[in-house]
């Protein structure tokens, strides 16, 4: 059942894990909002997968997403303090760089992350998997143990919220939200 005993499959699983690391890390960042926590979450994910193995017939990358998701949810429960308000205070933990030095991409990432952080956790998860990681609904349903229909409606709700938060390129700073949806 578990890909651990057999050396050959273990080697393949290890390579598949290595291959998946950058994307799992990105997934972790899209959940945690800062690289420090994302790297910790990634490390915990790898440790957990190494510890418990990967079931056969399962895509290793998607399994890692699943473990990562579970650990993130556990973490959220453990630190409910980290209620991610729209201010998204954890972003302040990012290394402070002078405004000029922050690449456009980094500013954009922060702004989008603030919008992501405003979503309910289950919407953030499905958006991260489908919009960022490019999973199909079926794959996302498998990772999240959620019916397809629920995936579909969470995604739509997530995107609808983002439309009102991310109007136009970098508009959030200049424009008040038109609706108070919180």
């Amino acid at each position: 059942m578990i890909k651990q005993g057999n050396k050959e499959t273990a080697g393949t699983a290890r390579e598949a894990m290595l291959e998946a690391l950058p994307r799992v890390r990105r997934f972790a960042l899209s959940l945690t909002g800062n690289r420090h926590d994302a790297d910790d979450l990634l490390q915990n994910t790898v440790e957990r997968v190494l510890d418990r193995g990967v079931p056969e017939q399962v895509d290793v990358g998607r399994w890692m997403f699943k473990v990562c998701k579970n650990l993130w949810i556990d973490e959220l429960r453990a630190h409910s303090v980290r209620a991610r308000a729209s201010a998204s205070p954890e972003l302040a933990e990012e290394p402070v760089v002078s405004g000029e030095a922050v690449a456009f991409g980094e500013l954009e990432l922060r702004e989008v992350d603030r919008a992501m952080a405003s979503l309910p956790d289950e919407q953030r998860l499905v958006l991260a998997l489908v919009a960022v990681e490019g999973l199909t609904y079926r794959e996302a349903a498998e990772v999240l143990d959620t019916p397809l229909g629920t995936i579909m409606s969470r995604l739509a709700r997530a995107r609808a919220s983002l439309v009102s938060r991310l109007q136009g390129p970098r508009a959030a700073a200049a424009k008040q939200p038109e609706t108070s949806d919180e």
């Binding site: 290595l18 291959e19 990105r26 760089v97 199909t136 709700r157 609808a160 949806d181």
Partner: protein, 269 residues
């Protein structure tokens, strides 16, 4: 959840966006979009929000994975590991300013698979652009780049010793970083191109009387740690991977390099 921003067709539009509607549903919704400007605008808005999310995180998957995470998976070092480790050590010793995290295993297979070879013109173009290349740009530009005699880059590759910088025009500074002999008997050089905060790292090899760019990575010089490169593209290790794949033994010593620079490169004109 009572969300006033949620429209009645959002679910279908969102699924259309993901290509998750079946053909008949998709066709019928597209017909409605063509007829109903409001629906079209809503679709465009959802798509734009989606694109921003995807775009914002696109480059993250190219960032180096922390070494401590790799270490968890490296419990059984193999030959390839030691080759990579060697290159990393070497780089660290000679060029202490370069981070080595991205020299790790995980990027190797993807980097090699990408087989990236960039025209120098394209590399320079990207350097000249106001910001680092869009994610995917490197992979998309799979054209190989020849550096012909007469190109300032050619002269830099041909004559500038490792560690010395030369201005090649357009405010771009070219600095060869190391020279090595390849397994098939040729020579290659790693060279950094920088323009203010943008940087590209290229691997060029001497072929048929000219230089050919075999691999390129793009980076942005992190002002917070002056002199360091922070990889900013999907294959930050493309160059390192290409070096590891091609190198025979160690990089040339300064003396051996000097002899080559003075005496001419084999491979003729």
């Amino acid at each position: 959840m009572n969300d006033p921003t949620f429209g009645p067709d959002d679910e279908a539009l969102s699924a259309l966006l993901d290509g998750e509607l079946d053909a008949a549903e998709a066709a019928s919704l597209r017909r409605r979009i063509d007829r109903e400007p409001e629906l079209a605008a809503r679709f465009a808005a959802l798509e734009a929000a989606n694109d921003r999310v995807r775009g914002a995180y696109a480059g993250v998957a190219a960032e180096p994975v922390p070494e401590r995470v790799h270490a968890l998976l490296d419990e059984s070092p193999r030959a390839v590991d030691s080759v990579v480790a060697f290159a990393a050590r070497r780089e660290r010793r000679r060029f202490a300013s370069l981070p080595t995290a991205h020299l790790s295993m995980a990027h190797l297979s993807t980097a090699i698979a990408a087989g990236i070879a960039l025209a120098v013109g394209i590399a320079l173009g990207l350097l000249l652009a106001p910001r680092s290349p869009a994610p995917g740009a490197a992979a998309a530009l799979a054209a190989a780049g020849d550096v012909a005699p007469g190109d300032p880059l050619f002269a830099a590759l041909e004559t500038v010793p490792s560690g010395a910088a030369r201005d090649v025009g357009a405010r771009i500074s070219a600095e060869p970083r190391l020279t090595f002999r390849t397994r098939d008997g040729g020579y290659c050089r790693r060279m950094d191109l920088t323009r203010e905060r943008d940087a590209a790292v290229v691997l060029a090899c001497r072929r048929d009387g000219g230089w050919r760019v075999e691999a390129a990575s793009f980076a942005r010089v992190d002002a917070a740690a002056a002199g360091e490169f922070r990889p900013a593209t999907e294959t930050p290790s493309a160059v390192e991977a290409a070096i590891d794949a091609a190198i025979e033994g160690e990089p040339l010593s300064a003396d051996a390099e000097r002899a080559l620079l003075a005496g001419g490169w084999p491979g003729g004109r």
